[in-house]
Symmetry: C2
Subunit: 243 residues, 2 copies
């Protein structure tokens, strides 16, 4: 009997936004794996930290942070090999994933290497864009809205056409693309319809109308919400809800 | 001191997909409100049922199921009035929401009537589309994919243009629009790139390649996932994961 592989969605950051199921599998799996950048701590591990025990074996997967490239696949070849040893030995392995494992997540790279060899279950999690809408106190999408999610690295002309065709837009993966995207949004006359969200659901959470953001770059865990036709919603909404 | 209003995202159906936070607020709020159709049980209440206690006051909000119309606003005027009585008396009120409260949810109608008068918190939940991708064992979106969510009642020409412009598409609110949407997808040559999902995460969960679905209508809690350029993914993916 091999072990089981779990991809656990841990939600946007607040440890209380884990699901009961993710909590159960996190606390009963003997092996806990998580991505970790080569220049800092693992955010996924930070979310799970209140629930981890010293008798669980931790397996960090060190992911080089390279500019503008997807992680080298040999990182995941090697990680899959290490996890296979534990699975072959009959140990269940839980892979920790920020947000939802299958919403632009890196768990897919382990899944495609291991799911055909071991019983595998993906546990969905709360996405940071749902948490951002909740924090702002404004629906992410409603009625018959078209909602489009756009990765920031896409070219301006693609972003522009997709923004024009939707009622509600979420732009993720801002990083160093932030000044370019901000200029695009301003050129479309949508700056007052856009809210900026950083580290949602954490102590350091920051909500701001885009017009009030002075920085020229944005952290990885940030996003923009655009609601067309809703002038100044980001200013008026954020004050309404408590967190 | 008034009570606090909570909008609790309960996730897609499996009671274990509640967050720890939703579970805490559900079990500590003295008043529990939920939408209920006039022709059957409340799905939100069914998700929460394992955790409800007899000393909690339940307040069903009866929503008439009308064809092709959004619920009459007087339903929410009246419900907001009833919840106000409890909030004014100092009781916390938890409103149960399927999935995520602000992802095409009806909680917005209560929120816009009450959030400016009472301390209000929206607790994000796991969306059924995240759960559908997890069940299929295929990322909802990856890398720099454009992901678009489309409500089924939109006209064919709108749906077609938005499907053409995205890599990954989720179509929600199928219902009686199902045959029309299916014909559209077939006319675009995408039938083999489309998976059908019904009652995800419940006992009655059903995953099927669209080409194998024989029904001419679809229940409210169903959706389509389209991955362009991925022929027959729905046939090959579903078999891979255990649930």
């Amino acid at each position: 009997m091999t072990g089981r592989l779990y991809g656990l969605g841990l939600g946007p950051g607040d440890p209380e936004l884990l699901t009961l199921k993710a909590h159960r599998l996190l606390t009963t799996s003997p092996v806990i794996a998580y991505p970790q950048p080569d220049n800092g701590p693992s955010f996924a591990r930070q979310i799970a930290a209140p629930y981890l025990r010293s008798d669980q074996l931790e397996v960090p997967i060190i992911v080089p942070m390279r500019v503008e490239r997807f992680p080298a696949q040999d990182v995941y070849d090697e990680a899959a090999g290490r996890l296979s040893h534990h699975l072959d030995a009959g140990a269940d392995v839980a892979v920790l994933c920020e947000g939802d494992p299958f919403f632009y997540g890196s768990f897919m790279y382990l899944f495609e290497r291991l799911a055909h060899r071991y019983p595998t279950e993906v546990v969905p999690g709360v996405s940071s864009m749902m948490a951002a809408a909740a924090a702002y106190g404004r629906p992410l999408a409603a009625r018959n809205d078209v909602l489009t999610i756009l990765p920031g690295p896409l070219e301006d002309e693609v972003l522009k056409a997709r923004i024009e065709a939707a009622q509600a837009v979420v732009i993720i993966k801002l990083g160093r693309h932030f000044p370019r995207i901000r200029a695009l949004i301003a050129s479309m006359g949508l700056e007052n319809c856009t809210g900026y969200v950083e580290r949602v659901s954490l102590e350091a959470e920051r909500l701001s109308p885009l017009a009030d953001v002075s920085e020229t770059s944005a952290p990885y865990f940030s996003m923009l919400l655009i609601y067309k036709g809703a002038e100044d919603w980001a200013r008026s909404s954020a004050a309404r809800t408590e967190r």
